[in-house]
Structure formats: structure tokens, C-alpha cells
Symmetry: C2
Subunit: 147 residues, 2 copies
């Protein structure tokens, strides 16, 4: 429970903006005929780096337990959007990587995000939007335990 004030607090504003962006990206996938990826799966997939990412790290970034992340990765693997390969650096670990099949998805989502950000920039001004980005980036140093 963050608060029950009437004038919206920062938490709610962050939430509204985040959900709007996420929703638009996911809706764009559906509009493009990609209906076999859920929002929760997308949240995980969006955090996979270009060289693959460990399940543990995905879990941390998405703020879910390793178990939840593993569960979602399993589904993404079943639909062919990711693959798991051994991590050469650590034989306990496996790297989750996007497959070629994910290309269209990533492209569709990214271009929708770009479109949304353009709308936002038009509404509040590019400079103000960039200020938000930069401030949140600095804020991440204290809000994001990992990096």
C-alpha cells in the first residue's frame, strides 16, 4: 500500500506510465498476430541480453523468484522464442537466448515502443522526457540492487 491520497503520488504515476508502455507493446504483438506470448513471459523476454542471460539474472531484473522466471522461460522455450545453452563460464548455469523466431517479436515490440515514446515526446517535449529518463537512470543506482 503506497498511499491513498487523491492527488496522484509518484508511485502511481510511475505505474501508470509503465503499464501504458507495456500494454501498448503487448497489444502491438497481438495486432501483428503474435498471440502466444503472455505479458508475464514478455516481461522476462524483454530482459534477455544479446549474448544470453541466466535465469537467476532474469529473475532479479523482473523482480520474481528464480522459480517463476524458470517457469516462464520454460514456456518461452516451448513456443520456440528462446533456447537454453550451457554457460561456458559456469557449468552450473545455462544461458537463455532469443532464437531467430523471436526476431519479428522483438522488432514489432521495439518499433511500438519507439512510437509510444515519440507520442510522449510530442506531448511533454523531448527535453522533459529525456530528463525523466536521465533522472530515473541515476535513481537506478539506489533502487536497483543489481547494477
Amino acid at each position: 500500500m503506497t498511499t491513498n491520497r487523491q492527488e496522484p503520488n509518484l508511485g502511481i504515476l510511475l505505474f501508470v506510465a509503465y503499464r501504458a508502455l507495456e500494454r501498448r507493446a503487448h497489444d502491438a504483438l497481438v495486432a501483428a498476430g503474435i498471440t502466444d506470448i503472455t505479458l508475464a513471459q514478455a516481461r522476462i523476454a524483454a530482459r534477455i541480453g544479446p549474448h544470453g542471460t541466466r535465469v537467476s539474472e532474469l529473475a532479479e531484473q523482473a523482480r520474481v523468484t528464480k522459480q517463476s522466471a524458470g517457469f516462464l522461460v520454460e514456456q518461452l522455450e516451448a513456443t520456440g522464442y528462446v533456447e537454453r545453452v550451457p554457460d561456458p563460464a559456469d557449468r552450473r548455469a545455462r544461458l537463455v537466448r532469443l532464437t531467430a523466431r523471436a526476431d519479428k517479436v522483438v522488432k514489432t515490440a521495439n518499433s511500438e515502443v519507439d512510437r509510444v515514446l515519440a507520442e510522449w515526446a510530442e506531448h511533454v517535449g523531448p527535453d522533459r522526457l529525456r530528463q525523466v529518463y536521465e533522472t530515473l537512470l541515476d535513481l537506478r543506482e539506489i533502487t536497483d540492487p543489481w547494477r
Copy 2:
């Protein structure tokens, strides 16, 4: 799926900040011995206005279906944190209101939020934090379909 870039995109930054705030508030409740409110319940409860709010409106604000909101309100009612009273303005509707029992919860959560915001202000500067707030407030006009 928002994107898979390495340099964090705005969506992830919004998410990280939002979750950090929410997590801190919820942890403060647990630390204060309030362990019978889940994060999802708190998300709903935080949107209840001082004069009561309809389930439909809570659902819209929290971006869940009426059914989900109704389910969570039911749980909050069972633990005594909210009550449902008839809406004098519309006999179909019922207003969800916080009870006296919720006072401590609201107070605890709010003061933790204030503490977090103070930390954030110290880290990036009060002016920059306020700029984020104001920009997100303006952004809400296009990201929040309702008001």
C-alpha cells in the same frame, strides 16, 4: 515484450523505480507486524479515495479486471481493512472504504513512501525529482484513459 536492448530503456527504468517504491512500502508494513496484506491487495487498497471508491474504478486504476479487483476487495474486507457500503448516488454500486483498522497501515505505508522519496531527492536532487513528477503528471493525460 518491450525490448531487449542492453542500455536500459525507459520502460524498465519506470518499472524498477515503481517496484522499488512499492516493495519498500510493503516491507515497511511487514516490519511493522502487518503481514496479512499482500502486494496485490495493497495495490488495490492504495487507490481507495477518502470518500470511498467503486470496485470498477479500483479495477481501472490498478489495471485489472473488475473480477480481480472484486476478489481482492473481498479479501481486504475479510481481514477488516475495508468495508463496502451502498453508493447513495447509484443503487447498483457499492463504495469500498477504508476502515479505522486501516489507519495504521496507511500511516505506516505513507511514512515509508515519504522516507523513500526523501532518499531519492537526496540522490538526484529535489528539483530533478519534482521534474519527473510533473512530467509524468502531464503524461498521464495520454497514458491514463480515465482522467
